[in-house]
């Protein structure tokens, strides 16, 4: 085969000569194939990231009269609108801790419950859990807002059946954020279910049989076989859900459009308000980098803790 290939290579008209020519001939197509992606990628991601970093140190004006302000935007980020960003950070963190924990727990439980089922039953449940995940977050949030309605909402109707008075789910600043969190948790974490059940399904049955021979109980098997072997999936999901929770926007924007005081402000609603409603571009950029910093450090810590070398 290689002989023929060599012949072909020789016969091919030599358009390029010299070292550069050889290089292009050998690698040119590789570069050509990644070029379109690299271009769009540089223009729409890489360059904006650096530019955004620069803007975060400027009092940026669209008319070109931008001035350098050093770290001012990073300070203003915390002090503007009487410090609502601090509140937003706290809210985001609370939301993230609860939703990530619940998502992992629910995902693990449901995937575990589905494991002994037949193929069709598994497919059915996976599809049922997944359906809301393909629906726009905007629409899901709109339905939840309607179900949370104090007067006509479905949830207060359910409570009234049980004899409880109406709850001001989204209107009460003390519980509005919890209501949003609740709505996220009750939207079953479809990705976790699908990935966990795939991971569990790929654990070799012999491991459990060997454990049976050793006389290990079900709990022991769960703890010593299942959990360690799905660790990398767990890590992936924890990081995934942490990032998406830190970036929560649609739910808040739709369910509490005007915000209930500061109690439902989160990082991204702040970025949106500062950048695109008050046109403080520098402050918005600074807040975006703070978000970036938080996400990056949390992800690094999570990788450290959950990193697994187990292969099977």
């Amino acid at each position: 085969m290689s002989n023929v290939a060599l012949e072909k290579a020789k016969v091919r008209p030599a358009g390029f000569t010299g070292k550069i020519g050889k290089f292009i001939k050998k690698y040119g197509w590789g570069y050509a194939f990644v070029l379109p992606s690299l271009l769009t990628f540089s223009i729409f991601t890489v360059i904006p990231v650096f530019w955004s970093f620069i803007i975060s140190f400027q009092n940026f004006k669209l008319n070109g009269n931008s001035t350098w302000v050093g770290l001012d935007n990073y300070f203003t980020a915390f002090t503007t609108q009487s410090g609502v960003f601090v509140e937003a950070l706290k809210n985001t963190l609370t939301y993230t801790v609860f939703t990530v924990t619940a998502n992992i727990f629910i995902g693990l439980t449901l995937a575990g419950l589905m494991q002994p089922l037949g193929k069709y039953a598994q497919t059915f449940f996976r599809a049922a859990y997944y359906l809301p995940a393909v629906t726009s977050a905007v629409i899901i949030a709109m339905v939840w807002r309607w179900m949370f309605n104090t007067q006509w909402g479905f949830l207060n109707f359910l409570l009234s059946l049980l004899g409880f008075g109406p709850v001001k789910w989204l209107a009460d600043p003390d519980i509005a954020l919890n209501s949003v969190t609740l709505s996220t948790i009750l939207t079953v974490p479809a990705t976790a279910v699908v990935l966990f059940s795939a991971a569990m399904g790929s654990i070799p049955k012999d491991y459990y049989e060997a454990a049976d021979l050793e006389g290990a109980g079900p709990l022991r098997k769960w703890w010593s076989i299942t959990l360690p072997l799905i660790k990398s999936t767990t890590l992936y999901l924890v990081v995934l859900y942490t990032i998406s929770s830190f970036e929560v926007f649609e739910r808040i924007y739709i369910m509490v459009p005007s915000g209930v005081g500061n109690s439902t402000q989160v990082i991204v609603t702040q970025i949106y308000q500062n950048g695109f409603q008050q046109f403080k571009y520098g402050v918005a950029a600074a807040q975006a980098f703070i978000l970036f910093l938080i996400i990056a450090s949390v992800a690094v810590v999570q990788f450290r803790f959950l990193k697994s070398d187990v292969e099977y």
Partner: protein
Amino acid sequence: MATSVVKLASNSNPRPRLRPGKIVMWVALIVTAFIALWPMYWLLVTALTPTENSIKTPPDLIPIHASLSNFERLFARAKDYPQWAINSLTITLTITFFHIFFDTLAGYAFAKKKFPGRTLLFGLILSTLMIPVHVTLVPQYIVTRNLGMINSLWAVILPGTADVFGIFLMRQYIQTLPTELEEASRIDGCSEPGVFWRIILPLSKPALGALAIFTFVRFWNAFLWPLIVLQKSNNYTLPVGVASLQGEFSTDYGIIFAGASLAALPMIAFFLIFQRYFLEGVRMGALKG
């Protein structure tokens, strides 16, 4: 913990019988499926029920007053609604087309071609996955504005063409393809673009299906960026438009959810038809969020 008990108990039992553990398991699964699907059902019920029947206690749990009157009012009063659907479709189809082509091309190069800097470039691309999109919002907005593209569909399409996930997905898939076919076609005198077009692209169909579906869903549902750059009603995409119904018709839930359900229906149908690819795609890691 209950999970494992149920699971292992049933494994060690060759003839499955209905035991308390099994019943609890089924009930738990069915109840959660019910909770997961309830908002979808409620969306449909509210859309079909004339508003005056939605705002009463107890609400209609099944749509006994079902009619299409909400939809009629929607089209009479939200005149731009069909335009939103056209905008959404245009944007989503264009971006999906770009992704299929560019991602497969790059994925192929990263998987099979050898060139200096390949690992570095790929690593660089992957590392940006960590960067929240919000970091690029401000500069992208400024560029969009300076180019005079605010309120143009291109403002949504162009930034949407860069895609890390797709490149990663296609690279992973193309790596698993046998190299012999490519080599054979090269020996037969096939040019490099020809190899890509005739060999790689057709062989990548299963992964392309997943990529296309996920790209489509992701951009059909995209919200924040379109919300920022599309500021006139007739330029809205469906999610932005539907969200605006909430402000416009405040308590007229019938009209709001008629709009919302119509926007959700294509995705639901799409999912039910291509369900297998979706779940396969999730497993391949194509889903973000």
